[in-house]
């Protein structure tokens, strides 16, 4: 099989999305850590000249950038354990929610990067999007993908692990069990799913990392 390499940066949820997809499908790959904050490599700039970001998947020497595009490529190249249903309408829904995540995730991250009144506003905005996700995206399904984990579950997977860490750091809880019972239940199911459970970044290392990042964001905002 041709070489599969993933350029990533720990603990990026965008990168983990791709890692989960590869692991769920049993695809062997080489992982290469990029210093995305302070020292982007020549290799990264060559493989993703447009955005200069991770993740980048390189398969048989050919690079693919943008996590949503990478996930579609993985789905088409390794069809086992599918991330999309067969019917076009079901696929359109999965893609809709994936795009919803791409567009709204920055609003959901907002509370990590802000403080005071701005943080209150960001939290409220984030919860508005979560309400839509809870009621219309997930509904009564086991996973966004139905009975199995699908593309949209991977898009929102960060809610199942990163959010807890950020809550601990900021003291802000975005998803309370009483106000978002379905998302809360989904979070437990997602992070307990065997392949996912073994593929989550170390929590205490994340605490250190994001405490640092938050300090940087807040300092930048003040300058």
């Amino acid at each position: 099989m041709a070489q599969v390499t993933l350029l990533g940066a720990w603990p990026s949820p965008f990168v983990y999305r791709v890692i989960w997809a590869l692991k769920l499908k049993g695809v062997d790959y080489e992982y290469v850590e990029e210093d995305i904050l302070y020292n982007k490599s020549e290799r990264l700039l060559k493989y993703n000249p447009v955005h200069k970001m991770v993740p980048v998947l390189v398969h048989a020497g050919k690079p693919i950038a943008e996590s949503a595009v990478i996930l579609e490529y993985i789905e088409e190249t390794w069809p086992q354990n599918p991330l999309l249903p067969k019917d076009p309408h079901g696929r359109a829904l999965a893609r809709f929610w994936t795009k919803f995540g791409e567009d709204k995730n920055p609003a959901l991250f907002g509370f990590l990067r802000t403080e005071g009144e701005q943080q209150v506003k960001a939290t409220k905005e984030g919860q508005e999007q979560l309400r839509i996700l809870e009621e219309q995206g997930l509904g009564d399904k086991k996973f966004f993908g139905g009975d199995e984990i699908g593309m949209a579950d991977l898009e929102f997977g960060w809610l199942a692990w990163w959010l807890e860490v950020w809550s601990e750091i900021t003291g802000v809880t975005l998803i309370e069990a009483e106000s978002f019972p379905r998302l809360h239940a989904w979070i437990q199911r997602f992070k307990e799913f065997p392949t996912i459970k073994e593929t989550l970044p170390d929590r205490s290392a994340m605490l250190t990392h994001y405490k640092d990042r938050r300090a940087t964001f807040l300092a930048l905002a003040k300058s």
């Binding site: 693919i64 943008e66 595009v69 490529y73 359109a92 893609r95 809709f96 795009k99 219309q136």
Partner: protein, 232 residues
């Protein structure tokens, strides 16, 4: 298949995102009903079919709504096997087309800024468009290493990316007239220009183009409005 195939497209004639979907339907020869929406007075049907974003385009196929222009086009390609296949078979080629189609949103947003601003703000926006279009040109070079094919060949192999580029740049003459400057030209962005020039010759595409005067009038109005609110 003799099933009831009712297709309705909710849109506004000025939106390039709607245009993307229109072009896909036309190029694949799919019959559809078009409903023009007034975005200042959205119809109850639009709000029913797209309650989350309340935007156009919305495609309703046999009563089921699909939203987000690129999601709609992939749905169209998967559902109707007539006309060109808008995403080729090869997964790598598909990934490149998806990447650049997605990138066009950023190009489009920068273009809108050029139309809405003057002076220094506009200079900055023009520079941004120029940089982004340059990258797009490089992307097209990767997809068309032997240059843009003849119109005849092109019409059989039109892709999702071609339609997206046409939707945003097809009105380039109107943009030039209103702005007094070129955002794309055959010297700096030869592939983008030849792509549009070839696509416009496809009959299904030609008939969907808006008359120049209509687009010019709209762009002038849009720009004046934007500048007025900026100084208000």
């Amino acid at each position: 298949m003799a099933e009831q195939n009712k297709v309705i497209l909710y849109g506004t004639w000025t939106s390039p995102y709607v245009k993307r979907v229109e072009l896909a339907l036309k190029v694949k020869g799919i019959r559809y009903e078009y409903v023009e929406e007034d975005l200042r007075n959205k119809s109850p049907l639009l709000l029913t079919f797209n309650p989350i974003h309340k935007k156009v385009p919305v495609l309703v196929h046999n009563g089921k709504a699909i939203v987000e222009s690129l999601v709609i086009i992939e749905y169209i390609d998967e559902t109707w096997k007539t006309g060109p296949q808008l995403l080729p078979e090869d997964p790598y080629k598909r990934s490149q087309i998806r990447f650049w189609a997605s990138y066009m949103q950023q190009v489009s947003e920068a273009m809108v800024l050029v139309i809405k601003t003057i002076g220094e703000a506009q200079e900055k926006a023009i520079k941004e468009v120029s940089e982004k279009v340059k990258l797009l040109e490089a992307g097209l070079k990767g997809l068309f290493p032997d240059g843009i094919p003849s119109v005849h060949e092109y019409s059989k192999n039109v892709t999702l990316l071609d339609l997206v580029i046409l939707a945003h740049f097809g009105g380039y003459e109107a943009q030039e007239e209103v702005l007094g400057l070129k955002l794309i030209d055959s010297e700096k962005t030869p592939l983008v220009v030849s792509c549009i020039t070839a696509l416009i010759e496809i009959p299904a595409v030609k008939e969907s183009l808006n008359p120049l005067e209509k687009v010019v009038a709209f762009l002038k109005f849009f720009r004046e409005n934007a500048l007025k609110s900026a100084t208000a």
